[in-house]
Assembly symmetry: C2
Homo-oligomer: 183 residues x 2
């Protein structure tokens, strides 16, 4: 029995629980000040990550906002994109996969090595991992914004346990252990 890696959902969100607005716009996020050496920063986080998993909307956002502007695919780390659509991998480290998240656990485990898996988003994919018992941590950087509607942070009822709280400039940063589905 292979030891499964730790799965971490690490994301920015609005105070009212949205990852992006209804048009997948992130202007509300990208305009906020953040200390890149500060609490729960990306550099420290990504150093512990061996594999990425993401949904199609997140993937297409990166393709549209990075590759379409002449930038390279931003991750060296192997990335599985979960979709039922016919997408083209944007880099040799990207694999497009379909099916249940558990169908791909052996592959994810092999890719992650002795590091953790970053569940990049969206919320639907994070909830699928959680429902499969494959989500250990949720770390949010909460921007000082409400949107009123948009892409949900986590569209399932779950109990968490607060592990760590900090401020990073405009953001409230909080790390949680995933307890399990609310019953």
């Amino acid at each position: 029995m292979s030891h499964r890696p730790t799965f971490r959902y690490y994301t920015a969100t609005t105070l009212d629980g949205f990852l992006a607005d209804d048009q997948d716009n992130l202007d509300w996020l990208l305009s906020q000040p953040i200390d890149e050496q500060g609490a729960m920063n990306y550099t420290d986080f990504i150093g512990g990550i061996g594999a990425l998993v993401m949904g199609a909307t997140t993937y297409e956002w990166v393709v549209e906002h990075e590759l379409a502007q002449g930038n390279p695919w931003p991750y060296d780390i192997p990335c599985l994109v979960f979709t039922h659509r016919d997408l083209t991998p944007a880099a040799p480290t990207v694999s497009i996969v379909a099916g249940e998240v558990t169908d791909h656990l052996d592959r994810i485990t092999a890719l992650a090595g002795d590091k953790a898996v970053w569940v990049v988003g969206g919320g639907g994919l994070a909830a699928q991992f959680a429902q499969a018992g494959l989500l250990d941590e949720v770390t949010v950087s909460i921007a000082p914004v409400t949107l009123g509607s948009g892409r949900p942070l986590f569209p399932q009822p779950f109990d968490l346990e607060l592990v760590e709280v900090a401020q990073n400039r405009a953001f409230v940063c909080a790390r949680y252990r995933v307890v399990g589905p609310r019953t």
Copy 2:
């Protein structure tokens, strides 16, 4: 020109931005440990409040969960309930009012005296005050729970400014200044 009071929206919320589930259930909240002398606690908060405003759903929740169980109306402080329905005041300190929030500003100002106004909720009423330029602060105690759906914390796009962050047992507590509607 009378000086208007400070308006404070002070509420608990889930991490995904809900005040209650779709059945107005608060079990997810009432089961959480909190230090009643701790960060951003209710006792300190309510000491600075001279008037309450609330929407009909919040009002009926209190009536159903307190008065229907033989408890008195829990607030000595004057309370305006905003609704277009024909509700009966549950106590002499309760007034049922209709119309725009600005229609009642003089009365709220008189009731609050030299203290602040607590916008108890729900999110729709808080957003109406904010859109009328009558919301100064948002203070949230974020429970370690997601619900996936329910009553929204604040159903309008607004910019905030983070003023204070703290942990109170299971809760992330954050206080914000209201900057204004997102444009």
